[in-house]
């Protein structure tokens, strides 16, 4: 590509055509301040903080979305620019609630950080505000506080372009412009899938997860309750982010130690249930293959994806595996098998999930997720999973309890729902469920030992990945998609009849899979996602068991309780059905 020469703050620099002024400046050590900018997702130039002077242009231009030109002379730090940035920031602050100390993003807020960086010492403008805009906590997972919204449009663009859901839009005009669902709807009344990607990109606290930590503190206090906790595969490489550890650091043992110090009665692992999912889902696939069921089969672990297909492609619901997600399998097993085994009244078992995900809150509240209640025929057992906490909420609880997370010792999960395999750990990354399923399906179908258990073809951040695995003469064709834009592409192909010869398709709602989930520590960007994926595969490689069907605790569960995959109890506890939505 053509090289262009330009001057930034007196320094000559040569860059490729099409590069923005912002990126060119970074090459000479100048980080032009930004606010609304989010690489590849939001380059709309709304906030006007990144304005720079270009010689020959009367007005300022925004560095984030102005491409360099040959011979351009750019100045990034003149008195006029500083004044402009500061006034812009003052305008934003004049309509922002001054309540940092009680804000959930305190200390992790881009507006707060920018105010510090730009040395704003007074807000000299005042006037009308949006302080009366109501909070929208209509959904299970996401809370919107439009008072704190700075209308940067990141959420709009991530929702519309990355996830192709389009639940929120820019409403109104002029000063009255605000971000929200169309027609003043509540978020719960839209097709929002509660993936929480908007919460990840929000620079302030205008979109956050619903905080359920108080419910957990209360349960921990209640002597009658036997409070058990499960930790999702992706959380073991992300919680450390909130305590200054590098992204992707495996912290499994420390997380267990921390949960024990918070007072949980038993610390279990969703990975156990992930192995169980593979047993059930793999068996379902084999059954569909052998008995001519609807193919390709889709995975069902990702609740955002499930809500997406229910809204946008209800006609294809028969393709979705009937298996519950690992979280919901765990809840049902904890309140039946575990309660029975330990001799605890299932009414008193309180299940908390630590999830990378805001949509999991919605999943746990789905009316049908009360299998234990139906199993025991006891309406007082309300839900299979009582509270879902996101990684961020757990991080906050640990900070509140003053737990020195990075210096905790490594501890082990409790028996019997704490034993898991590497196949379960990789559920946290895109392609992981597929890889885990292939490891088990191959051995179950062929009866042979799989030598090469790493399926590199389905790993990594490519949007859509494919592989072909020969099993007993059948070439099993699989596909993996993550991020709902890619999911939509796959669905459109399916609709057009192009995927007839595929057998199994994994879809994860969030880019990168659960390690990039909407409940994960902020920031979560592409670089962070990549590190977390690497962390997950490191965890896998270090595990004693790496195939789900080799998990001795799973074998024991089938032997003592479930009998066999897709058996009667499995159907009652581990499988579900879906609801077509508008």
């Amino acid at each position: 590509m053509a090289k262009l020469k330009l001057t930034i703050d007196g320094q000559a620099v040569e860059v490729e055509e099409g590069m923005s002024i912002l990126k060119a400046a970074a090459l000479v050590g100048v980080k032009i301040p930004t606010l609304c900018y989010l690489e590849d997702i939001n380059e709309v130039g709304a906030c006007r903080i990144c304005v720079v002077e270009v010689e020959g242009k009367e007005d300022f231009v925004t560095a984030c979305n102005t491409p360099v030109e040959d011979g351009m002379v750019v100045r990034t730090n003149t008195p006029a620019l500083r004044a402009s940035r500061r006034t812009t920031l003052e305008l934003i602050l004049s309509d922002h609630p001054m309540e940092c100390l009680t804000c959930v993003r305190n200390g992790n807020c881009e507006l707060q950080a920018l105010a510090a960086q730009l040395n704003v010492r007074a807000v000299r403008v005042s006037g009308a505000t949006h302080a009366d805009l109501p909070r929208d906590d209509s959904t299970s997972g996401i809370v919107r506080d439009p008072r704190k919204c700075i209308v940067c449009q990141r959420c709009i663009n991530v929702c519309a372009n990355v996830q192709t859901v389009g639940a929120i839009e820019l409403q109104g005009q002029g000063f009255e412009a605000f971000v929200g669902p169309p027609a003043n709807l509540k978020l719960a009344d839209t097709r929002c899938v509660q993936c929480g990607q908007c919460a990840l990109v929000c620079p302030t606290a205008a979109i956050v997860e619903k905080d359920d930590t108080d419910k957990v503190w209360a349960a921990l206090l209640d002597p009658a309750k036997h409070v058990v906790v499960q930790t999702a595969p992706a959380t073991r490489v992300t919680i450390g982010d909130m305590f200054g550890l590098p992204p992707g650091t495996p912290v499994t043992g420390k997380m267990v130690a921390a949960l024990r110090r918070l007072g949980f009665d038993a610390v279990f692992d969703t990975d156990f249930a992930a192995d169980l999912t593979i047993m059930e889902e793999g068996s379902e696939l084999i059954e569909r293959l052998t008995k001519g069921g609807v193919l390709p089969q889709f995975t069902s672990c990702s609740p955002g994806w499930i809500k997406f297909i229910e809204h946008f492609y209800p006609e294809f619901l028969p393709h979705v595996s009937t298996c519950k997600s690992p979280q919901q399998m765990f809840g049902a097993v904890a309140k039946t098998y575990y309660a029975q085994k330990k001799g605890i009244d299932p009414e008193n078992v309180f299940v908390v999930s630590i999830m990378p995900c805001t949509a999991k809150k919605f999943e746990a509240e789905r009316p049908e997720m009360n299998a234990a209640s139906r199993y025991w025929n006891n309406p007082r057992i309300a839900r299979d999973v009582d509270v879902v906490l996101t990684s961020r909420e757990l991080g906050r609880m640990l900070k509140q309890a003053g737990i020195d997370f990075p210096n905790l010792p490594e501890e082990e999960y409790d028996e019997p729902l704490g034993l898991s395999t590497g196949a379960a750990a990789i559920f946290g990354a895109t392609g992981g469920v597929m890889e885990a399923a292939l490891r088990t399906a191959y051995e179950l179908v062929t009866g042979k030992t799989l030598e090469q258990i790493d399926f590199q073809a389905v790993r990594g951040l490519d949007g859509i990945k494919e592989a072909v695995v020969p099993m007993n003469g059948i070439n099993v064709k699989v596909m993996v998609g993550h991020g709902l834009r890619n999911a939509r592409q796959i669905m459109e192909k399916l609709k057009a009849g192009e995927l007839k010869d595929y057998h199994f398709i994994e879809i994860m709602c969030c880019p990168g899979g659960c390690i990039g989930g909407g409940g994960q520590p902020i920031p979560t960007d592409t670089v962070v996602r990549q590190s977390r994926i690497e962390g997950i595969y490191r965890v896998d490689a270090a595990m004693k068991y790496r195939k789900s069907h080799e998990n001795p605790a799973i074998k024991q569960l089938y032997a003592e309780f479930l009998e066999k995959p897709l058996g009667h109890k499995s159907h009652a506890l581990l499988h579900t059905q879906y609801t077509p939505r508008n």
């Binding site: 130039g45 709304a46 906030c47 006007r48 305008l91 934003i92 009308a128 005009q173």
Partner: protein, 192 residues
């Protein structure tokens, strides 16, 4: 007479031109002042650089096109010299706020803050001249940093008004309007 793309509405003979324009859906008076039609040649030249109707790149924008067509329609027509500049500023800002897409901060928040500040000036509620500094500062920002021409135009026009017509703003702050009419009372009495 063609007024923008629409013909003059039918109005009673004594209707103020302002009212007539309003009925046509257009706020007029701001432009005549801001374009310096009554300001003499130099001023016309000075401002025409900013918003020359034919060369203004934003002419493709429907809102600007409407403003520009209003201006064109008024070319050659005499306009009272002693019209209240502060009120015009307010009308301009009102128009911009109504039409701002709300995307960028300077235009969305800045023009609203200016509108409020000018309102304070008009109502004689401004405590001191600091308010003009405030207005100037925001106008400067909106004029230079807005995303599209609508905000830039508004910022520059207001900045120009404050620097050229500072005396009149100060008069308002001190409690009197040097124009022959003020906000509410006189708006309808100008007849061309």
């Amino acid at each position: 007479m063609i007024f923008g793309s629409s013909p003059w509405p039918e109005v009673a003979p004594t209707t103020a031109i302002l009212d007539a324009a309003n009925q046509a859906g257009v706020r007029i008076p701001l432009m005549c002042f801001f374009l310096g039609f009554n300001e003499g040649g130099a001023e016309v030249m000075g401002v025409a650089r900013v918003i020359a109707p034919c060369t203004w790149p934003g002419a493709a924008d429907p809102v600007l096109a409407r403003i520009i067509s209003v201006v064109r329609g008024l070319m050659g027509h005499a306009w009272p010299r002693n019209i209240c500049r502060v009120e015009m500023t307010r009308l301009l800002l009102e128009l911009v706020q109504e039409n701002s897409c709300g995307t960028c901060v300077p235009c969305r928040v800045g023009t609203r803050r200016m509108l409020d500040l000018v309102g304070e000036v008009l109502l004689g509620r401004a405590a001191d001249l600091f308010i003009l500094e405030q207005l100037g500062r925001i106008a400067e920002l909106v004029g230079s940093s807005s995303k599209c021409d609508l905000g830039r135009l508004a910022g520059k026009l207001v900045a120009g008004a404050i620097s050229r017509r500072r005396r009149e703003f100060i008069a308002h702050i001190r409690g009197n309007c040097p124009g022959t009419f003020t906000v509410d009372v006189h708006l309808g009495t100008v007849v061309v």
